[in-house]
Subunit: 585 residues, 2 copies
């Protein structure tokens, strides 16, 4: 060992001990004949002291140390004269008697501090230096702790972690697969799994009963913000269960994690909200319930009074921002601009303030009598000092989504989205199908193995679009952290599902035959869910992006700029793989 203690370990009770420490030079400063060095390792920072009068040569060596040099020192623990209450080792310092430079260091391209001067690009290129910053390291420590606790909980509930293969076959539906050419099987390719979905269902057929895996998944999608081509899933599946069993068990896990990791006790059952209600009242299948501003629909109240925008709308709805009547015209104009941005796409915004005397003053006063406006006020339950914001449009769903953006923006502006407050809910009763304009057919909203709700099975023949599924998402603070479904285990029901999805029996056999065949040998009723680990960790860490809870993330072009990957292959390698690269201009 190069050390007797770490840099985060020594306390006042260690005074007079002879110790050896090793670490990185965080900073050094000369004060008169004294040189002070902050020595850093993963565990903390300890102050080293060199005294010119006592040992000039040693002090001179210390003065030559640059930032991020790796050193080993031996010395005596001393009580500090002026203590530093900001760090746990702040009561002591080390009077150094021996200094050993283990490795020199070039000056790092950015400062290794929580508030660094390094931009995103340079931090990613030198990610190994970026990871020295305590804030980044803490995210990865949190990630470690989270996976330890997830495993502890699931193990205690009888789940077995089973590793499923990474080199698998291509799956027909969903996003694009990454593929891997096989040298031993010329012209053939493996695929990297988008998720262990089919394999975990096979494990249920195998009788594994309770499976989980913290699994790497891969999607070759055009990367949007905050997507990674490889990501990590907490993947779970259970047999002989119904939806409530899964929801209860994973609600338990969530509470356990909140308690162990964040020290937060979540009381009572999580709210459960039907998908239709989530859309109706929040315009989103992942509503942020840290704050109110539930949508109020105003068709009855505001249509038919001569304001053509509303009179011709398919939907009129609004939110009430409590105590926001003080918003200035300028602020309101900015909100209007916000909803009119192309990403949101509203045509305009109507607002109304509730005055001190209870009267309503709106931007459309010329069309509405105070009587109508009072009815509107009542619909919101608004009080003096509140601000009502209204959107309308000719497509109810689209307008709701616009209103959702406005609601979230108001939540931000009013400070209602505190990162240390957590609102958890289950969104349930998702529609089984959604209509695809592109494919001109119904598509499975979740996947084709999702079980319809028993009470809706009759609708499969008469009104498939109205069928709801035994599918559920867990939403925390407006982030979908996980989701899953009960799966179909009845071959006849599965066949009907394929029919509705427009598969001929032959095509269903070709694409899903492998799983369907397994199901013929005794499939138990089963269901499961998967959590996005990256997303959940960043939520717990209070991060805006998943990138900083991933050790070596890729950028928006799917590149690892540190490793400089991907890269061109050696021609001999391509040759061995029986491949020719043919780039179209």
């Amino acid at each position: 060992m190069f050390r007797t203690h770490t840099c985060g370990e020594l306390r006042i009770s260690d005074v007079n001990k002879q110790v050896t420490l090793a670490g990185w030079v965080q900073r050094s400063r000369k004060m008169g004949g004294m040189t002070f060095i902050d020595l850093r390792d993963r565990y903390g920072i300890t102050q080293l002291v060199f005294n010119e009068e006592v040992d000039a040569a040693l002090c001179e060596s210390a003065n030559r140390l640059g930032r991020e040099f790796v050193i080993q020192i031996t010395g005596t623990v001393n009580e500090r004269f002026s203590k530093n209450t900001n760090i746990p080792t702040g009561d002591i310092e080390i009077i150094v008697s021996e200094l050993n430079v283990l490795n020199a260091a070039l000056t790092p391209p950015f400062t290794i501090e929580d508030n660094t001067d390094g931009g995103d690009d340079i931090r990613m290129k030198y990610r190994y230096l970026d990871l020295r910053r305590p804030s980044v390291r803490k995210n990865l420590e949190l990630r470690h702790k989270m996976t330890i606790e997830v495993r502890r909980y699931l193990d205690s509930q009888g789940f077995i972690e089973v590793e499923t293969p990474v080199l698998v076959g291509s799956t027909p539906e969903g996003a694009r697969d990454f593929v891997v050419p096989s040298r031993m099987n010329p012209g053939q390719f493996y695929a990297l799994p988008q998720s262990p979905q089919t394999l975990k269902q096979l494990l249920m057929v195998s009788g594994f009963d309770r499976y989980f895996q913290i699994a790497k998944c891969f999607r070759d999608e055009d990367l949007r913000a905050d997507r990674q081509p490889e990501f990590t899933q907490i993947d779970c599946e259970m047999s002989f269960v119904e939806q409530d069993d899964i929801i209860n068990l994973f609600e338990g896990m969530t509470k356990y994690l909140f308690k162990e990791i964040r020290g937060v006790e979540l009381e009572g059952q999580f709210q459960r909200m039907a998908w239709a209600d989530a859309m109706k009242y929040y315009g989103s299948d992942k509503p942020d319930l840290r704050f109110g501003m539930k949508f109020v629909e105003l068709m009855d109240v505001l249509q038919g009074h001569g304001f053509s925008v509303f009179d011709n709308a398919a939907y009129i709805g609004g939110i009430c921002a409590e105590g926001a009547a003080h918003y200035t015209r300028k602020q309101l104009d900015a909100l209007t601009e916000f909803v009119k941005r192309p990403q949101i796409g509203a045509k305009g915004m109507v607002y109304a303030r509730i005055e001190e005397d209870g009267t309503v003053k709106s931007s459309v006063d010329k069309f509405y009598t105070q009587e109508v406006l009072q009815k509107m006020k009542e619909a919101f339950g608004a009080k003096p000092g509140d601000l009502i914001l209204i959107l309308s449009g000719d497509d109810a769903m689209k307008t709701r989504k616009q209103l959702c953006e406005l609601r979230l923006e108001m939540g931000n502006q009013l400070g209602l989205r505190d990162k240390n407050t957590f609102a958890c809910l289950w969104v349930v009763d998702f529609p089984m199908f959604e209509w695809s304009e592109q494919e001109n057919r119904l598509m499975a909203m979740h996947h084709p193995f999702t079980h319809p709700k028993d009470e809706d099975i009759d609708l499969l023949d008469t009104d498939p679009a109205a069928v709801r599924a035994d599918a559920y998402d867990m939403v925390i603070n407006g982030v979908e952290v996980g989701g899953g479904s009960i799966r179909i285990h009845d071959p006849k029901l599965q066949a009907k599902m394929f029919e509705i999805l427009g598969f001929t029996p032959e095509k269903a056999e070709e694409q899903f035959g492998f799983l369907m065949n397994a199901f013929k040998y005794g499939a138990p009723p089963h269901g499961g869910l998967a959590y996005g680990l990256d997303r959940w960790v960043s939520l717990f860490a209070g991060l805006d992006s998943i990138r900083d809870c991933i050790a070596f993330p890729k950028n928006n072009s799917g590149r690892d700029v540190m490793l400089d990957a991907p890269a061109a292959l050696d021609p001999s390698q391509l040759d061995e793989l029986n491949l020719i690269v043919d780039i179209k201009e």
Copy 2:
């Protein structure tokens, strides 16, 4: 929930309870008016009873159930008349009152029992049925438990699990990489990691101090028996440590695992054996120390007596098999045939029995006096009743390897390799380099970042082939379960190493510049090791192959016969990837 209890749970104390169980029909038998069904799930087997006299219709339904049907039953727990002491639920049975068929099953293509009639190929094709067999499932349960305990131990020692990426850059040395074409970066490829070696070294540069990961690794090698293209490694790295620190810590982990998983207390320190001694005394860098038969070299004793085979040999050595003098001529001839097989390649074998009276009777008596043979006996410390087996050859190392095979075979024949006895050791002081006939240069035996032993650094200039490394393997029962090394952190030493390995500075920069560059920013002294999880689990499970501790293994052609992967791609997919398949005839 489809059940109140599992099939492994009910005991005599539950008698008269009303219960609901769900599971698979293991077997059914009719005895008079009674039908007995063994209901199986992951947790065990419970006997169900249907009585024709009590409910003829229900009994009739039960009679129609086939093997592997999935059923749910409700009934009353009853004390069995004739108890089955072989299973924990053997004291009770369930008098069934309700039967619900959850899913029918085709007759499985092989019997779902520990002793199955299914061959390897059919078991792999229907792996989801094979996994129902308790013996296979237990291996995966053991694997789960092992990873849980490994994580528990390493977490308790301050290690952080960090996920490193699966889509990385190609590494220059070692086995072939699997590659992944990037659609977003036309003509460029990711590689799948052969191990997280460079990334874990970067984490040390980042100050992570103690890292581990249970990581998937990939090698596109021609598969020998018991190799898989993807395998799992317990990968570890530590900073500010010397070889002994790593050995001590992981010896601690090994003892912990033996205790927690096998209930075996390993006493004292593991033996540490220099590589040179392992080769000299056991002809192997992974000696099986469950038994003796240490090699004895006999050049001094047996050369120069007119037996030309020995007189012209570069090496003569033998083993003494205690109490095996009873071996018949036929058995000895079979051993001679064994060592002469092309896989082993010895020219012949000499044997000698120690008679009751202490005289030695050998197959080469006409060349040797009893006096010489007695000297030989003393060299072995042989006793009456022992059998001495001797090989010779013109290449000492090759002959030792042949003698190693003979020793292991004798260990098998004499029952000295009990799967429930464990002999752990560290093989240390590996040579730094080995000569490659193919490349006509010294190659790194471990990898180019391995640290030479301090006391041998001077030899780098004068006799590099004699330099030993700070490299170590953990060997259990003749299986290398893990290995690692201290890494070089001094850029000057690393440059010298590349020089010896025949790299120009330019080539070294091109291939390893990325890691070397990181090292310029303050690399701590560090080292680590990696365990092969698959191999370790199969050792604990007493398996001869790693395949049965892997849920979905690949065959010797790298195929997953269940998934039918790899497979040809859709032309449009190739097109998107800018690839043309070009198979040479």
